[in-house]
Subunit: 404 residues, 2 copies
């Protein structure tokens, strides 16, 4: 276990696996369950570090792949590390770079995301895989989408890069399979991931906390085997990686296979973060989430609304601000929201900015969605503390008023 | 004179026409000389209204042409007017819409800006003018660059639109000629502008202050005649419109013809605002400036630096942040600057954001340049108060240390 890193479970739900906790790092605490905004290249898109502070963002998640290829970990180290570089002094997670090496090569070619069936028309490109990524037991060679050149990452270099970036919590190097991978390949990749986990632990910078990653695709025995293996290693926390099957139900199934086998260490679900996912996965024992979803949909005009303002499963808890119904709507995005955007602007003004393609739209929208996610996580924590998580979930997931 | 609008000259330079003053409106004061950032469609590009407040922006300048064509003054009126719409409670200037009708039709076709010789290769398109704008004594018909349709603005509708927008200070409807216009045409346009000035006064909303606009191109007798005519009318303030000749010296010449004929009313120079212009024009008696320049160049990577940080006429008081020399430069953009961007970020980080095409770059850069302009204006005001304007100007314009 890394120094300066600890996790304490403060309260457990009686009826579910939801738990309230706190991760302590030398750069501050992370109250869990928590949403960790993604700052791909050391910037949460459209937000300044002053915004992160003002919104109360406790931690962010930066992408090693992009930082390595674009700016370089050596430069960032010379600049004093990620925290000083981007002027954010809270805990920073980094991934290992592996996921993007696959997903921007193979995954994007497959047209798949972490849950595969959303874009099911990608099998034809399986043969292209050889062109963009070459996976061996030593590591991954991949063609960079940034400079077009070939690069190679293995557990040792993934740990070295993250060390130079200076993040607080790093991820072990793993191979993330596609939902299109068959059993045999998924087993092979999982076993490689396990060997890489051991190597990641060996090479990682002891000043950083490190999470192991459970793989195994959508195969019960593999997921169980992977959970048992990863938890047997002295990681500071446990992450669950994709592929998580072909639909949301598959993802829930994976968590039900995996989480009950784990111990008290913090559990991170990689790359997931739509609102229903948050409820379903907190219920199944997840502590932290990183996801580009809330910030990405904000930039595309989708702004969150709470159930009290009409948000429900059907509208995905959001409005599309470009809709002409908001043309002269004087209300804030969510009348129950206290974020800077909702305190300043009407839906009509935000629609005007969006339609006019004004740069100020992007920050205003992102501020709202990030604030919304943070407040949602806060109310989830509160509900666990008071034993009312399931009631809160029912209120959100069915649009029903919860009792008491 | 509009109620709730007054201008007081607090101090005059002994050796130049520079003056220190204050415009008082019911929405707050504008200390002059002052730079007024442009908020074309009710948003200073990349900034939120919270940023305007934090930066101490006293007034902004919105464009009637864009607001009329894109969002519509009726909608903005229903939303409570510009101030409530964009959540800015300081004084707002609007132009009459005429300049853009010409410049986006004729001017852009001519490839000219307010000072013509910058892009001198445009005469061939004079014939296209008929296609995009039709000017008669009644008003201007123009083809919208927003919706492609034909629109018509005359003094009455320009005043009605600005009234509905609810700005504090409106501009009379005028015809802005091109530097390529000959004497006869410039006279004809000036006389039309004078008739329109009278009509603008007749139709304007008495709750708004109104500035008359002096035209006359780069012809001494026309500029003098226009100054005398416009100042004879009961405008609250006097604006000087383009064309201002073919180079900076021509612009200074125009001001030397015009300003000494004017009285104590506030003087606004339309659309000018590079740093040397500010010094030269304050010296020649200008009180307020609106210009997209500082915000536009920020978005393109050009960030201001003061003389103490190496800024000079030659480098236009700016650095180009994309330059590789800043790759690992830990200093803020301007080490003497106290803006939020300089307090948070290094040149290296801003370069990284710029190169990575990150949205957060635009706000960080714009914050710096706007803050820089506001502090420059503040130091100009201070220098006028203490009788040291010329020394300050020498220090900036020659890179020399001013005496005492």
């Amino acid at each position: 276990m890394a120094e300066h890193f600890s996790f304490e479970v403060l309260k457990r739900s009686r009826t579910t696996l939801a738990r309230l906790g706190v991760i302590r790092t030398r750069r501050g605490i992370i109250e869990t369950p928590q949403f960790i905004p993604v700052a791909t290249v050391a910037s949460v898109r459209a937000l300044g570090s002053d915004d992160l502070r003002a919104l109360g963002v406790q931690a962010i998640f930066a992408n090693t792949y992009h930082l390595h290829l674009r700016t370089g970990e050596d430069l960032i180290r010379r600049m004093g590390g990620l925290h000083r570089f981007m002027s954010f002094d809270g805990p920073i997670f980094t991934d290992s770079g592996g996921f993007q090496a696959f997903s921007l090569g193979l995954g994007r070619e497959h047209n798949i995301s972490k849950i595969g069936s959303i874009f099911p028309h990608g099998r034809r490109s399986a043969e292209r895989r050889e062109n963009l990524t070459r996976i061996t037991d030593e590591g991954v060679a991949f063609k960079s989408l940034v400079d077009g050149g070939w690069h190679f990452i293995d557990p040792r270099s993934a740990m070295r890069i993250q060390s130079r970036l200076g993040s607080d919590i790093v991820m072990a190097f793993d191979e993330c399979t596609s939902p299109l991978s068959d059993y045999d390949y998924t087993r092979e990749a999982m076993e490689r991931t396990h060997r890489w986990a051991v190597q990641s632990l060996r090479y990682h910078d002891r000043r950083q906390a490190i999470y192991g990653i459970i793989q195994g695709g959508w195969f019960e025995d593999l997921r169980r085997e992977s959970a048992d293996f990863i938890k047997s290693l002295p990681f500071d926390g446990i992450a669950i990686g994709g592929s998580l099957g072909n639909c949301k139900a598959d993802m829930h199934q994976v968590l039900e296979w995996v989480v009950p086998r784990l111990d008290a260490r913090p559990r991170h679900l990689l790359g997931i973060g739509e609102i229903p996912d948050i409820f379903e996965c907190v219920e199944r024992g997840i502590d932290t989430f990183d996801c580009v979803h809330p910030t990405r949909i904000a930039r595309r005009g989708n702004l969150y609304i709470s159930p009290a303002s009409g948000g429900c499963l059907e509208n995905k808890f959001r409005i599309s601000i470009k809709s002409s119904v908001f043309k002269d709507d004087k209300r804030p995005v969510d009348p129950r929201c206290g974020c800077p955007t909702c305190r300043m602007y009407s839906r009509a003004y935000l629609r005007h900015l969006y339609i006019s393609n004004e740069l100020s739209y992007f920050r205003a929208a992102t501020v709202h969605n990030v604030y919304f996610m943070l407040r949602l996580m806060e109310s989830i924590r509160k509900s666990i503390r008071s034993g009312k998580f399931s009631a809160l979930k029912r209120r959100w997931m069915k649009g029903e008023q919860a009792p008491g």
